[in-house]
């Protein structure tokens, strides 16, 4: 069950190799974070799940069914999608953006809009924003709308393409918290693409670090990767040598203070 990448590869007609021999399983209700620099094929891999990209070798399975055997449009409607920078339809009001997929699948407009307002609340937005147009929202609000839109048809699978990359760090943090809270409630199977290792560690149950050409540098839980980076590439990528990653404790007034590599305090060790 869940999503399975079975030895997938993608070579473009011009000979560019985006991904080679990638295998990975995402169990149901878990979050897989694909992380890597640009050109690492992470977005390509994610887009293979809803057939926005078709693999040239291997196959992608959702609940043991090869996606290539499914109707493209039906498949996409059954999968939630949060694109980079929102990708909202600028000519449609926020409620109608959220209601896009239910309306496509035949839900009456009135009912779909009603449900859309509920979804706006679910992602932490004032339902009154529903009558605005996307251009009248802030970047963070647009991103929340995109998440609400992805959830509208209650899909089991959610694909997120650098969903919080276009907003400032404080807003990003808020959006990540929101997603973690939603995920605790809804338990979707999520494939998340990011270039931000901290985001991957925060949101991913499992993290795949990719090198250029879609080569897997390391797969594991955030704990495993942090504790035992596979090679110099991973060590460099997760910033093992950075001051904020090399923490130690110092005793101050009988308490254990945690300090980073530069000796700046980051917290107090409990217990």
């Amino acid at each position: 069950m869940g999503i399975e990448f079975r030895d997938v590869g993608k070579t473009y007609p011009d000979g560019t190799v985006a991904v080679t021999g990638f295998s990975c399983t995402v169990p149901s209700h878990r979050t897989l974070a694909l992380v890597g620099t640009s050109g690492s094929g992470k977005t390509t891999l994610m887009r293979m799940v809803n057939r926005m990209v078709e693999p040239t070798t291997g196959s992608v399975l959702i609940d043991d069914r090869d996606v290539l055997g499914l109707d493209k449009v039906e498949l996409r409607r059954s999968i939630g999608y949060v694109p980079q920078a929102g990708g909202l339809l600028p000519h449609r009001r926020v409620v109608d953006n959220v209601a896009t997929v239910p309306v496509l699948t035949g839900t009456p407009k009135r009912a779909a809009r009603e449900a859309a307002r509920g979804l706006l609340e679910l992602v932490g937005l004032d339902p009154a924003l529903g009558s605005r147009y996307p251009a009248q929202l802030s970047g963070g609000q647009q991103q929340r709308v995109a998440v609400a839109r992805a959830l509208a048809a209650d899909p089991n699978v959610l694909l997120m393409d650098e969903p919080f990359g276009a907003v400032d760090p404080i807003v990003r943090r808020g959006l990540q918290d929101q997603l973690l809270q939603l995920q605790a409630e809804l338990g979707k199977t999520i494939v998340l693409v990011t270039h931000d290792i901290d985001e991957a560690f925060r949101l991913g149950d499992e993290v795949v670090v990719l090198k250029t050409g879609g080569i897997v540098a390391q797969t594991g839980t955030p704990q495993q990767i942090m504790a035992d980076p596979a090679d110099d590439f991973v060590r460099d990528f997760i910033g093992s040598d950075r001051a904020e990653r090399s923490l130690r404790t110092v005793a101050v007034d009988g308490r254990s203070l945690v300090v980073d590599g530069d000796g700046r305090p980051v917290g107090v060790l409990e217990g």
């Binding site: 996409r76 409607r77 999608y81 009001r93 896009t100 694909l159």
Partner: protein, 222 residues
């Protein structure tokens, strides 16, 4: 200024209105020829332009072809077509269709290409069929550019439809050709003024239509 004054007097002379050769009748003919030419050209150019814009295929070939058609002098084409088809409205209509085609085509594919690529990609990923993508996202987002193409084509055709009178007794061009032949410059200028006024009016109408077709992306403050 007497010539100009005389021309205005010629236009306002009640004797030149009404009846088969009257100004009102010729204006109507002129408009009919214009609309017919633009409509016929649109029938082919718009679907083709939408297809090119949507698929991104065949763009180079068609753009080069349209450019070549644009370079063809309409009067020359009309003469050629007139020789082949004879006296009548067919030859000028066909020449005007060729004139309208490139603008319509360019407007159509430019309109589609102008649609926000992020929104189009997201809509496809959400599960819109290609047809839904075209009709619900790309055309609404590019509508004002597409209408802009129709506007440009209409303006070109309404001015050039004067040539219809070259080989058929149709439209306002008749005053120009008749005036030229009989050295009746007052009639010629009157005809030219009428065409100019008609073109201006039509363009203003099309400009309003273009504004109205711009997609709404902001709520009008209540």
């Amino acid at each position: 200024m007497t010539l100009f004054g005389d021309a205005l007097a010629w236009i306002t002379d009640g004797a030149h209105w009404g009846g088969a050769g009257g100004i009102d009748h010729r204006i109507l003919q002129h408009l009919l020829v214009t609309f017919a030419a633009v409509a016929l050209a649109a029938l082919l150019a718009l679907p083709l332009g939408l297809l090119i814009g949507h698929t991104g295929r065949g763009r180079l070939v068609v753009v080069a072809l349209a450019g070549a058609v644009r370079a063809v002098p309409t009067l020359g084409l009309l003469t050629l077509l007139g020789l082949a088809l004879g006296i009548g409205i067919e030859a000028p209509l066909l020449a005007l269709v060729a004139l309208a085609f490139p603008s319509l085509l360019a407007g159509a594919y430019a309109g589609i290409e102008a649609a926000d690529r992020g929104a189009v990609d997201a809509a496809r990923a959400l599960g819109m069929s290609e047809w839904q993508l075209l009709t619900r996202v790309e055309v609404p987002l590019g509508a004002d550019v597409i209408v802009g193409g129709i506007r440009a084509a209409t303006l070109q055709v309404v001015a050039t439809a004067t040539l219809a009178a070259y080989i058929s007794d149709t439209g306002l061009g008749r005053y120009l050709f008749a005036g030229l032949k009989s050295r009746d410059y007052v009639q010629m200028l009157a005809g030219a003024l009428l065409v100019a006024a008609l073109a201006l009016l039509l363009d203003l109408t099309m400009a309003a239509l273009q504004r109205a077709s711009r997609p709404t992306t902001r709520k009008v403050p209540a």
